[in-house]
Subunit: 385 residues, 2 copies
Amino acid sequence: MLSDSERALARAVLIHGPISRSELTSRLGLSPPSLTRLAKPFLDRGLLVELDDRSDGSVGRPVRPLDVRPGLAHFAGVKITGESLHVVATDVRAALLVYVEVPLRGHEPEVVADEIARAVRALGVDRIAGVGVSLGGEVRDGRVEFAPFLEWTEVPFAQLVEDRLDIPVSLENDLVALAEAERWFGLGRGIPGFAVITIGAGIGYALVVNGSVVHSREAGVGLGGHLPLSTTGPVCHVGHRGCAEAMLTSGSIAAQVSGALQRPLDYDDVLRLAREGHPAATTVVDEAAAALGRFVALAVNLTLQPAVVLAGEGIALFALAEGKVRAAIAADRDPRAEPVRLYVDDSGFSAWARGAATIAIQDAVDRIDLHGEEQDPLPMRGALA
Amino acid sequence: MLSDSERALARAVLIHGPISRSELTSRLGLSPPSLTRLAKPFLDRGLLVELDDRSDGSVGRPVRPLDVRPGLAHFAGVKITGESLHVVATDVRAALLVYVEVPLRGHEPEVVADEIARAVRALGVDRIAGVGVSLGGEVRDGRVEFAPFLEWTEVPFAQLVEDRLDIPVSLENDLVALAEAERWFGLGRGIPGFAVITIGAGIGYALVVNGSVVHSREAGVGLGGHLPLSTTGPVCHVGHRGCAEAMLTSGSIAAQVSGALQRPLDYDDVLRLAREGHPAATTVVDEAAAALGRFVALAVNLTLQPAVVLAGEGIALFALAEGKVRAAIAADRDPRAEPVRLYVDDSGFSAWARGAATIAIQDAVDRIDLHGEEQDPLPMRGALA
DNA sequence: ACTTGTTTCTTTCGTGTTAGAACTAAACCA
DNA sequence: TGGTTTAGTTCTAACACGAAAGAAACAAGT
């Protein structure tokens, strides 16, 4: 639909906020005339607007930054877990407008699709130009190839949801989606390469190199979950002692302290106890922090990318034991190497759903039609208008 | 110099041997007319030739495969170690023509540059269009930023060699160069992503993702050397127990068995003893193999690339204990994930120098001038013609 | 021998993208 | 008020590309 340069322009304006044509020339490697020409149809069709950036004191003609037209469109993002749907509405830059969690009544694809359609409608947001759906498992071309926790294989799930909502639906692996969100709109914006590590109910891992998310078959299989991180930690459900799942998942951390104290505790209880200095909780949390640090160090050393984004609903652990994490990184890191840059996304569950929305936004950019007759340049079909 | 498509054509013919225009259309994503147009100047200037692929029995007009003109140019590659230079002459596809090792008399940049110039001249190969030099350390823009084993900092080494030879000189980190060689002409040809692990006097690591070698500052610092691979192994010189250097370097393996047997042995002795079933050597070799397997598994799990190229002068270890390596990989690998594809480059030291030559070849492609007046389209200055 | 069919490659030509030169626009400054 | 600086526009020529049609070279059938 769009030419390469048009797509690049659309992405740059979307990602780098209001931005002048002259800055775009250097960022896209195009000449000023090309920017004038490329921007025109976007302005004519009402996708972009020129801002009035009144004089800021510098000499020269003032810039007329380009920006996405306010209220142009909204997007929905849905992350499916085994227990519930996390659903968000966002603007075109994946900024959060609404966030709700909806319990899942069943795991059958039709039931989940029904729930998603109902939840997206219930958001009460108009002009939804796309819906992104993410889940843990292998995804290809709108189909869920394999999702262990839902027990799905070969489910054409994007179509199921699209049938119910009449809005374009994009489906992606949850970690790829999260990495895309961090890369376009999140903490990884402008960083050419970084790893994403999530902790929570499970362990997640994704990788960005040379400005693009690694999409190989490997991505999304959950390979980070059983990395060996400790020789003395607990055992995970497939028998690895001290693997990432055993050391870092909320469930395993809660179970360790519950066992020590002989009373049921959840993850938040453990963090609270650790913050209060309770010895058993502190030991477990510190060991988890050291394992996280080792995970980070391994990722950085083997991906050759000196930046890591930490996310996931259990990431509060980091704030509680940042020193231990950094000490563990330093221990496994060559002192001559660059220091590791850590970015913490503590937005919890909504980050997952914003990731899903980001996929919908990316696909919407590719659907823009600047040269078609009359019709809406950003097709959004039903769109809950 | 060349347009993107011209460069893509040159690379494709170089890498994929004699290749027809019609196959190039699909590989480069261009139309048949474009291939005719793009190939013409290469043929006119004598860089490429059309082969006479006489009828092979299939119907249709016979293909006229394009190939690099035989004898168009040669290249030299030099790998600098602390003790010697490994010097090769190659053809345009980095195939080995001559290989010599020259002891180094000193570590001063001028001395090393003198030795390189002398060795390259002594190769006795004409039409050398470029010299590639690689070494362990940080390299940028023809300068050695930092090379610990030579004790160099901020040495404009490419210029030093170029002054002596009057041939374009390309300088690169040794592992980046090796990875480029595997990607263009070696075992990684056609594989979009893979890790390179070398064992020998030291441990090396490089990474290819999305068809390009990771060039970040991190690459070439030697970050793979101290990965924790065993909790019971020996201690490396900076005090890590069971790290990659302690488990896998020739020196450490030889020292372990020498200690056990109370007599001096070198690496080859150890491999021979292990092959003969000597218990101490077998134990050490098997543990090294397990460590190598764990290294591979970590790399694959964290880079999300399911292929690994093993190289380095000590890689004979792999043939001796392949089963142990594969068992260790399987143990650290999710059974749902793709099996790891292992490729073993057992060409030893010359692989390093061929890597250096590959860098010179890549740079030479970028120097091709199809549209200049009269002069040689592949500039090679002095070239020892 | 002749035709038909198949595949590869080439020629012609129109389209769309690009950058360069020259120009206009809008501010500040002296 | 007119010079300076920076931003953006108009016009144009160059270029790269692909669609369509044609040419080349062979195989296989009639």
